[in-house]
């Protein structure tokens, strides 16, 4: 996106030249974004006027004004007509599986379960066999409670990042799959302290279920979209994808020199989870070491290289001359 107003342009220039890799990333993401429509950008930047004194002012406005008004609502702007350019364009089979990682701390606490107990219950339901410890219907009822907790989360209304299941099977076969999935999805905020664990669920659901949920919301004309920089808080563990790619691409936290492990990523409208959507549960145990070494800037540089490679766009992700850090 090329900012329409001089003050935002100046702010972006200074942000990109910042020595802080996070700040630089926020600025770059805005400039690299290619899917925000003219009307959406125009509306955003017009409303943003007067909040460009520094990045902190812009970020505060973005969080305090823009996101509550446009995104954190029953049908986020993301899925409405104004975001048509980011709508997922290629044909999606209704049977295609989407996957998403959910933090289970709240749901476990609310339901009085441990992650080990939940794992036993899920196994009993998925195996469908008579379990000496749990009646199948009892286990299902317990899992319903977990889904209900996830559905009741007030943040559940926000656009949901999800990836495609295909290509994830090998990762899920590993005993440390939660760490690996966390890395492949670029979920830097699932970063446990040493010896700490973060209980997670991998939710899996067909595209059909998303579309069915969207049919109940009249304004949701594009219920599955490619994520853009305006759909969430500014984050450095996200890079917008070139318009030639039909999906977003997750930033692989463990590094991906051969561009093999990125997951095709979309945003979709909220759907209410059901028991059959609970696919796997486990714990993230490893800290994200790469946040320190090699560090964010290197991860992003490698990622942008992959995006250029996949889209055949050598020009993607390049800052205007003179914008880079001296």
């Amino acid at each position: 996106m090329t900012p329409a107003f001089k003050d935002l342009e100046e702010l972006l220039r200074s942000t990109c030249r910042s020595g802080d890799p996070n700040l630089a990333a926020y600025g770059e993401n805005y400039l690299f974004e290619e899917r925000v429509s003219g009307p959406r950008q125009g509306a955003y930047e017009s409303a943003q006027q007067g909040n460009s004194a520094d990045f902190a002012a812009w970020d505060r406005w973005h969080r305090d004004q823009y996101l509550p008004r446009a995104i954190h609502r029953a049908v986020p702007e993301t899925f409405t007509g104004i975001n048509a350019e980011a709508a997922h364009s290629s044909a999606l089979g209704e049977d295609q599986w989407l996957v998403r990682v959910e933090n289970l701390r709240y749901a476990l606490g609310e339901n009085g379960l441990t992650i080990d107990r939940l794992h036993e219950l899920l196994t009993a339901v998925q195996d469908g066999r008579r379990d000496p410890k749990y009646d199948l219907l009892d286990a299902e009822a317990s899992l319903e409670g977990v889904c209900e907790s996830l559905n009741r989360n007030p943040y559940a209304v926000r656009p949901r990042f999800a990836g495609f299941y295909q290509g994830l099977e090998d990762t899920l076969a590993a005993p440390d799959w939660p760490d690996l999935v966390r890395d492949r999805f670029g979920l830097a905020h699932f970063n446990p302290a040493p010896k700490e664990i973060i209980p997670v669920a991998l939710m899996r659901y067909p595209v059909r279920d998303v579309l069915a949920a969207a049919r109940k919301a009249a304004d949701a004309v594009h219920p599955i979209c490619v994520p853009t920089v305006l759909d969430h808080e500014f984050t450095s563990y996200f890079v917008p994808a070139p318009r030639q790619l039909p999906y977003g691409r997750t930033l692989q936290l463990a590094g991906d020199p051969d561009c093999e492990y990125k997951i095709a990523e979309v945003l979709h409208l909220r759907l209410a989870y059901r028991v059959e959507h609970l696919f796997r549960v486990g714990v993230v145990t490893r800290p994200v070491d790469t946040l320190v070494t090699p560090g964010l800037a290197r991860l992003r540089a490698d990622h942008i290289f992959c995006l250029q490679y996949e889209s055949d766009r050598n020009d993607f992700g390049a800052l205007p001359p003179g914008w880079s850090k001296p």
Partner: protein, 719 residues
């Protein structure tokens, strides 16, 4: 060892939090703080990441605990209702929910203790702020209350909540209610406790025989089984008291349970929790009748403890509440402290019990706290708009204060709602006579005497005879005295009459003296026994502690009555004072909107999205209320569809479907018996329900006031 294990990432927000805890935390909870790499995490997850692994005595963690506690304490008053609506209710609710969950996720002791100490107050405040399944502040608060418990003080709240959760609009509360019971500290058999089963039974007992209710009940039961794996024998023992209980026998949940659980179809060998026998209870009443006092009180207490233990094990408090009220009435004259304790205990189990409300207020009056008694009666009248007893008692207290117009309005309403009450008729006649309307008083009493239903009631005869003496019509009074003796035999009342009739002019003075007494028909007052002093002090102190919300509610109810006796200036002044003190207090806002139509749009705007309670929507409704909003109310509160449709008809004109539903409700609906009977009568008389009918408008006002959820603080905390 990885770098991250030894050297945490630099964190600007944490540095700021150490320097300026309150604004830094406020920014974080409001989603305004940028904390890389957690930009996409929720505020409570960020707090978990930053503080979750810190030791309990870590300064940062302790700082978080105290700052979060202050933040929660300020949340109630940080915005007026209008500011909150402008800020965005969903955002406000999201932030508050997140802060509450941080308290229990991080197990912050000070914030948790603060939630426990202020729980009932917070519960009342949060009640309307349920916007949808996801934006549900009352539920999040209840979860926080359940998960931060360190003692048993909320036990009654959870048990009441289990019952309320059977209503479709409150169904989401069953999970925190059961959570609360399963996490009561120090119960026998943590988790799968008798209280938990009692809660589930109270929930089940209110459910209907339909697939949704069955599914909701069995899902909770099954989830509990999975959560607390126990042998069939343990469940059998826990359930047997419920399954043997006669109150529950015909309720559908018993069949749902026994159909799915083979083990519950068989008898347990363990001795079930049981009630004291009828002989034991009768023996106590006999001892009371024989005049035993101090010596019998410990036995009564033991018997009531047995009844309450049964209630705790089965969820059925019927016997306990009835026994507490009956025995309280019997000891009231000489042990008002005991009566007050029992009345409060009874209300904890059964907040809609008119006998318990009346006993509580009578006991307070006996303990020389008419101020508290009056506040209790105001609340009882609001909750139980068709209960003539509490309305009459309140009227008598107002007469004591020289507030005859308000008292008269209450007595006329009581008479209208319960024409079968001789007491109301006699008191109304006495007030009419006292205020110079002897003719009307006499006509009322003569009409009453002509009705055969009152022929066996001594109150009307005695009052009429007394009035005749006071009016100097001793001959007529003598005839009534004779009639009294023929019907009821000679007793202290007939002797009083005879004495006055025989005394001539002095008798007239004595009659006036009697007529001026507050309690004309009551038993003579007695001196409390010494053993009552301690319980009385304790119970009155507890009443004092809980008096503030009761007095506020009473203030708003008084304003309602002032409107009805055509004193809007005083009414509005009262309401303005209440709201100046607490702009968020819902009940005064509702009373104001009910009586001043210009205030309705303001109320509607403030609470349009807040679907936790029905009353602000009904009070704020007018012709501009969109049809879609009426439909939404019907979907959210299906159990109150009749009242919603009636409000719609009287305020905005109902459409065809609503009119048809209303007709069905009037004829065959559940609950609101008096309101439906009056509607039926009015429709029979006029051929339609007339929105312009003032009587119906007054009934609607009462119904909407009764719908206001004032929370459990007004009940007083149980012993």
């Amino acid at each position: 060892m990885s770098l991250s294990a030894t050297k945490p990432l630099p964190n600007d927000w944490l540095e700021r939090f150490r320097a300026e805890p309150q604004p830094a935390l406020d920014d974080l909870l409001r989603g305004l703080a940028r904390v890389p790499p957690y930009e996409r995490a929720t505020p409570s997850d960020i707090l978990d990441r930053l503080f979750g692994v810190l030791a309990a005595d870590d300064p940062d963690r302790q700082r978080l605990d105290s700052t979060l506690c202050d933040w929660l304490a300020g949340r109630r008053t940080c915005m007026t209702p209008d500011e909150r609506a402008a800020y965005g209710l969903s955002r406000f609710v999201t932030e508050t929910m997140d802060a509450l969950s941080a308290v229990w996720l991080l197990q912050l002791p000070r914030s948790g203790a603060w939630i426990q100490d202020h729980y009932l107050e917070l519960d009342q405040w949060a009640a309307p702020l349920r916007l949808s399944e996801s934006w549900d502040l009352p539920r999040a608060l209840a979860q926080a209350g359940a998960l931060t418990q360190v003692d048993q003080r909320l036990q009654f709240y959870w048990l009441r909540l289990c019952k309320e959760a059977a209503q479709p609009s409150r169904r989401a509360m069953i999970d925190p209610a059961l959570n609360g019971l399963s996490r009561l500290p120090d119960t026998a058999g943590q988790g799968a406790s008798p209280q938990l089963i009692a809660g589930l039974a109270r929930f089940g007992a209110e459910l209907e025989s339909n697939p949704r209710d069955q599914r909701d009940f069995l899902r909770r039961w099954r989830a509990l089984k999975a959560r607390f794996p126990r042998t069939g024998r343990v469940w059998q023992e826990l359930w047997q008291g419920v399954l043997k209980n006669r109150q529950f026998q015909d309720r559908p949940f018993v069949a749902w349970l026994t159909e799915t659980e083979a083990v519950l179809r068989t008898e347990s060998r363990a001795r079930p929790v049981s009630l004291p026998s009828k002989q034991q209870i009768d023996a106590l009443f006999q001892r009371l009748q024989r005049g035993e006092r101090e010596s019998v009180l410990p036995y009564i207490q033991k018997m009531l403890d047995g009844c309450e233990h049964y209630a705790q094990g089965t969820g059925d408090a019927h016997f306990f509440v009835r026994s507490a009220c009956n025995l309280g009435k019997d000891v009231l004259a000489w042990a008002p402290g005991h009566a007050l304790v029992w009345a409060r205990d009874a209300l904890s189990w059964s907040p809609a019990n008119g006998y318990a409300w009346d006993l509580r207020a009578r006991a307070l009056r006996s303990l020389r706290r008419p101020d508290l008694a009056q506040a209790v009666y105001w609340e009882a009248v609001r909750r139980l708009p068709t209960n003539a007893v509490v309305r009459t008692q309140l009227a008598l207290l107002l007469i004591d204060q020289g507030r005859e117009p308000e008292a008269e309005a209450l007595l006329r309403e009581a008479h209208e709602r319960d024409p079968s009450s001789a007491h109301v008729r006699a008191e109304l006649a006495r007030l009419l006579a006292r205020t110079g309307r002897e003719t009307e008083a006499e006509a009322l009493l003569r009409r009453t005497l002509d009705l055969c239903e009152f022929s066996r009631n001594p109150i009307v005869l005695y009052t009429f005879a007394l009035l005749l003496v006071a009016w100097g019509r001793v001959e007529e009074a003598g005839k009534l005295r004779d009639l009294y003796v023929r019907r009821f035999g000679a007793n202290q009342w007939s002797e009083t009459l005879s004495g006055m009739i025989a005394a001539g002019a002095e008798g007239r003075t004595e009659a006036l003296y009697h007529l001026a007494k507050r309690d004309l028909h009551g038993e003579p007052a007695d001196h409390p026994i010494a053993a009552d002093a301690k319980p009385a002090d304790w119970a009155v102190a507890r009443e004092e502690q809980a008096a503030a919300p009761l007095r506020r509610a009473a203030g708003a109810s008084q304003a309602d009555l002032l409107f009805r006796v055509n004193d809007p200036v005083s009414a509005e002044r009262n309401l303005a004072d209440l709201l100046a003190d607490d702009p968020d207090d819902l009940y005064p806002q509702i009373v104001w909107a009910l009586h001043v139509p210009e205030r309705r749009p303001l109320l509607a705007e403030r609470y349009r999205e807040a679907l936790g309670t029905l009353s602000p929507h009904l009070a704020g409704a007018d012709q501009t209320t969109p049809a879609a909003h009426w439909e939404l109310l019907g979907e959210t509160f299906p159990e109150r569809m009749g009242l919603i449709d009636l409000t719609r008809l009287l305020r905005a004109g109902a459409d065809e479907a609503a009119a048809a539903r209303l007709e069905y409700w009037i004829v065959g609906g559940q609950g609101d018996d008096y309101l439906r009977a009056r509607l039926l009568a009015q429709r029979g008389r006029d051929g339609r329900i007339d929105p312009g009918n003032q009587e119906l408008q007054a009934l609607l006002t009462d119904a909407i006031r009764a719908e206001v959820d004032l929370g459990d603080r007004v009940l007083g905390e149980a012993a």
